[in-house]
């Protein structure tokens, strides 16, 4: 189908779809006029029941922990897909000497940028760990903290040192983090099954709201998810970096 035909078709179908979409959305309660039940129930009982002050994290890793397990596996599977697709392409020609050459040709980073990224790395890691472990208390948690943690090793690349990044975060460590995090979250659920009789039921002491070690299994689940998300993002980053930065010669090429 030509581009023009596609656009004409979209004009017709899109207009019809837009009308239905707006009509459907108009049937929702007006903005600000909240009519739901779940939200109010959770807001009412959340802190007493779970001793967590951030109810979003409490929902994420406790009330609907089973959904999060599924979502976590979507994350795991899609990164697995990235690895499978990109590594198949990598298998072709890969000369170690050229990898070394690339390290130099890419080292266009200025001294100021290098110094700055050196300062950034520990700060990013500290912030990431803080956000992960304080998930149950303040905004944050495994999903957000995991991405911040993955940004730490990426700052090494920012300094023009791609191959050093491989020393800081070797592929095997990234993959292990991804896998251990994914399995760890499922194990938290199994712990509930073994010690409390129900999958993902809380089996740890609840503690006092606002304390770091409170809210039962929430910090544990948050750490597992943080590990998985940071591992997953690092694996995806390094696969793309490998593709884009390591120069391979074509058959008979340079």
């Amino acid at each position: 189908m030509s581009r023009r035909a596609r656009l004409v078709m979209f004009g017709l179908a899109g207009a019809g779809f837009g009308v239905v979409l707006v009509l459907g959305l108009a049937g929702l309660p007006a903005f600000g006029d909240y009519k739901g039940v779940y939200g109010n129930v959770i807001n009412g009982i959340g802190v007493t029941e779970r001793r967590a002050t951030d109810l979003v994290t409490a929902l994420n890793f406790d009330f609907r922990a089973f959904d999060t397990l599924g979502e976590e596996f979507i994350l795991f599977t899609s990164v697995l897909g990235v690895v499978l697709i990109l590594r198949q392409m990598r298998g072709e020609q890969d000369r170690p000497s050229q990898r070394e050459a690339e390290e130099h040709s890419f080292a266009g980073a200025s001294a100021a940028l290098r110094a700055l990224s050196l300062v950034l790395i520990p700060m990013l890691l500290a912030l990431g760990v803080y956000v992960v472990v304080h998930g149950a208390l303040t905004p944050g948690g495994g999903f957000q903290g995991g991405v911040i943690l993955a940004a730490g090793p990426l700052a090494v690349f920012l300094a023009g040192r791609y191959l050093r990044m491989k020393t800081v975060a070797p592929t095997i460590v990234e993959e292990l983090g991804d896998a251990i995090g994914a399995a760890g979250y499922a194990l938290v659920g199994l712990g509930g099954l073994v010690f409390a009789g129900v999958f993902f039921k809380n089996f740890l002491p609840l503690g006092i709201p606002g304390h770091l070690l409170s809210a039962g299994q929430l910090p544990l689940a948050s750490i597992a998810v943080g590990l998985e998300v940071s591992g997953a993002f690092l694996v995806a980053f390094s696969e793309f970096l490998d593709q884009a930065l390591v120069v391979r010669s074509g058959p008979g090429g340079s």
Binding site: G32, P139, V147, A150, A236, F237, F240, Q243, A244, G252
Partner: protein, 87 residues
């Protein structure tokens, strides 16, 4: 509805449109990052700080890095293809 909410909504509407109409994928990536910032502001005024945190880490670190690297790889393939044709 507060003025801040209306302003954030307007920024999101403009940003989303800008991502779609940006002239080339490279500029689109940059606009996408700015659009992510406007979404972050929107989530913040909608009283969703957790979501805002999630959006800001994805739109500043997660997505742009991968898109830019994919673009670089594509350009590399193109150059290599041209070189092979010359030979």
């Amino acid at each position: 509805m507060t003025v801040l909410q209306i302003a954030a909504l307007a920024a999101v509407a403009i940003g989303g449109t800008a991502v779609v109409v940006a002239p080339n994928p490279l500029k689109q990536t940059l606009v996408l990052s700015v659009y992510g910032m406007s979404l972050t502001a929107l989530f913040f005024v909608f009283q969703a700080p957790d979501v805002a945190l999630s959006e800001i880490v994805i739109s500043t670190v997660g997505l742009p890095v991968m898109i830019l690297l994919a673009l670089r790889k594509v350009r590399q393939n193109e150059r290599q293809g041209e070189r092979e044709e010359e030979q």
